[in-house]
Amino acid sequence: MPKSRFASFGRFRRSHEFWLLIVILVLCASLGAANGQFLTMQNLFDLLTSYAFVGILALGLLVVLIAGGIDISFTATASVAQYVTLTVANAYGANWVCVFAIAIGIGGTLGALNAIFIQKLRIPSIIVSVATLNIFYGLLIFFTGGKYIYSLPDWFATGIFWFEFDWGKDTSYGVNLQILALGFSFLFTWLLLNRSNIGRQIYAMGGNTDAAQRLGFHVFGLNMLVYCYMGVMAGIASLVQAQLAQSVAPTVLVGKELDVVAAVVLGGASLMGGVGTVLGTFLGLALLAILQNGIILLGVSSYWSPFFVGLVILISVSATAWSQRERRTRSARP
């Protein structure tokens, strides 16, 4: 028993996630030493709250990437879901269950549309999602005129605040809507990918679609599920973002899709399909969040933040590719 645990640790030690974890720990330690504010509960809660939107989308994209596809239309899906849901809530009144049901329904429908184009018309997923991004977004702005919604229902604007507790004298923390949604998304995605039969099928299909088809997997159904899942995540993320921003801005989400892609691929998911983990995605997201947060806490002008993010992406993907190449050469010449 200890031996197998040792072996699995050895496997973990060689994995992408391990190195990511080391980098994050080093970063955390040095940032904590440099600025006392970094390693505080408040900062942790703030980070989780502000990165919930990207994180939830990243989980949806992770599932799509593992299945061997790609989707970049999710920002447009989120914009549509957000706009329609809160317009309906403003006009007819609603509650939390209602708004989430509507947003999830819209997200799922738009995701299903992607899956149908990809599977039934046999168009590569990258083309479909570039096209649907433009279609969803273009139609949304055409019909709404790009107008912002500032007046949200009161209960929505107040949000959710659970398990409130005090820390120190005048600060209190609680699990808000953003953290709650992020937590549930992580839990559910982990269950889907690691503890369900469907999850194994998604990995297998991403690894080799032809083989999966010949084994009798229902490839169309699986793809439908995967792209709907991405859409559902976009729907949830859109509400989380609207609640945080306290407004609905139809034009601000589109253009952020590559940030989400960056988080997922930093976490080790492969664009070739079949590879990627929930832990890796979490670490990729954490790396980006800590980096951007740390730059601000260190007093560097936030104008320079994308530069450092770009540098880290470039170094990280290069190092990963380099170490994989080294390992291949070593195994080729034992």
């Binding site: 168009i123 570039v130 969803f136 253009g255 540098l311 190449r325």
Partner: protein, 335 residues
């Protein structure tokens, strides 16, 4: 009887449409022209309309060429816009700092040197892309995502998001002047498209690019130094982004870290609409130019009809799906 002949006609039409993207695109263009000729009338064919179309096309056109080169090799270049903005800002900075007070040869020299410096920046980004992709084996989408963020970050960090504007006459002419009624920017596009087409179709380098796009491993085993080819290709792609930078800053008479960002996915859309296989190996410059004309015709016509430019975006997306679906509808086996 009549039914059979319509069926035959339909079959022939589908076969014609499916016989190549170029044929589909020409049919589509003719159809669009007919529709817009009926709905808009003479105004659609006026010199003014044609000239404004010719002014708007080159930026997207040159950027799409840059994207196309990367796509042909089975890659992707997400950093073209960021590269263009960074090299545009370099040119703009040099122009606004060294032009005032100069005359004659020095005045002309500064402009030439500024543009040269812009190309040097673009080439440098291309070298980084090419090295990371070809020699380190990073997937192109990740590598260029990194350089995209890096270049944009550098541009924002150095300018703090500000606009640099106010350039001398000859520079502004590149974006706004005409030669015999033809916009100079369109001539620049032609001067980019022609050599690229020649390079792809008539040189060993071009053949190697297509081979790499079809099967990189097989190409390497057949004795081609695929890494050198890829490095060169990404430098070329970046240099085209540099040309686009000159056209862009000339047209707006200004440069900024965030110009043209919405073009990024549109360049992929244009290239794929033009028949470039997103997985590499197939695609012609002619197809891309046709796709660009189609996109521009729709955009200009919608403008004349007073329809929102966002509806244009949606229609572009719809057309991309329709054109990509044609081979499948014609009964041809999907790739």
């Amino acid at each position: 009887m009549r039914n059979a002949s319509t069926l035959a006609l339909r079959g022939r039409l589908i076969r014609l449409a499916g016989s190549g993207t170029i044929a589909t695109l020409i049919l589509l263009l003719v159809a669009l022209w007919l529709v817009f000729a009926i709905t808009i009338g003479d105004r659609f064919f006026s010199v003014n309309t044609l000239q404004s179309m010719a002014f708007q096309m080159p930026e997207l056109g040159i950027l799409s060429l840059a994207m196309m080169l990367a796509l042909l090799s089975g890659g992707l270049n997400l950093s073209i816009i960021a590269t263009a903005n960074l090299s545009g800002l370099t040119i703009a900075f040099l122009l606004t700092h060294y032009i005032p007070g100069t005359q004659g040869i020095a005045w002309a020299g500064v402009q030439v040197l500024a543009i040269a410096a812009g190309f040097a920046v673009a080439a440098l980004v291309g070298l980084v892309n090419g090295f990371v992709i070809a020699y380190l084996g990073v997937s192109p989408i990740l590598a260029t995502l990194g350089t995209m963020t890096l270049c944009k970050g550098l541009a924002i960090g150095l300018t703090r998001g500000n606009v640099i504007s106010g350039f001398p006459e000859p520079i502004v002419f590149i974006g706004n002047g005409t030669v015999l009624g033809v916009p100079f920017a369109l001539i620049v596009l032609a001067l980019c498209a022609l050599p690229v087409a020649l390079m792809l179709n008539a040189t060993p380098f071009g053949a190697r690019v297509y081979m790499i796009g079809s099967n990189e491993k097989a190409t390497r085993y057949s004795g081609v130094d695929t890494r050198a080819v890829l490095l060169k290709l990404y430098v070329l792609s970046s240099l085209l982004a540099g040309v686009a930078a000159v056209v862009m800053l000339a047209r707006f008479n200004s440069a900024n870290a965030a110009y043209g960002e919405s073009y990024l996915l549109v360049t992929i859309l244009a290239a794929v609409l033009g028949g470039v296989d997103p997985f590499g190996g197939f695609g012609k410059v002619g197809g891309l130019l046709l796709a660009l004309i189609i996109l521009q015709v729709i955009s200009s016509a919608f403008n004349l009809l007073n329809l929102s430019q966002f509806l244009t975006l949606a229609i572009w997306g719809g057309i991309l799906i329709a054109v990509a679906a044609v081979p499948h509808l014609g009964g041809k086996a999907p790739r």
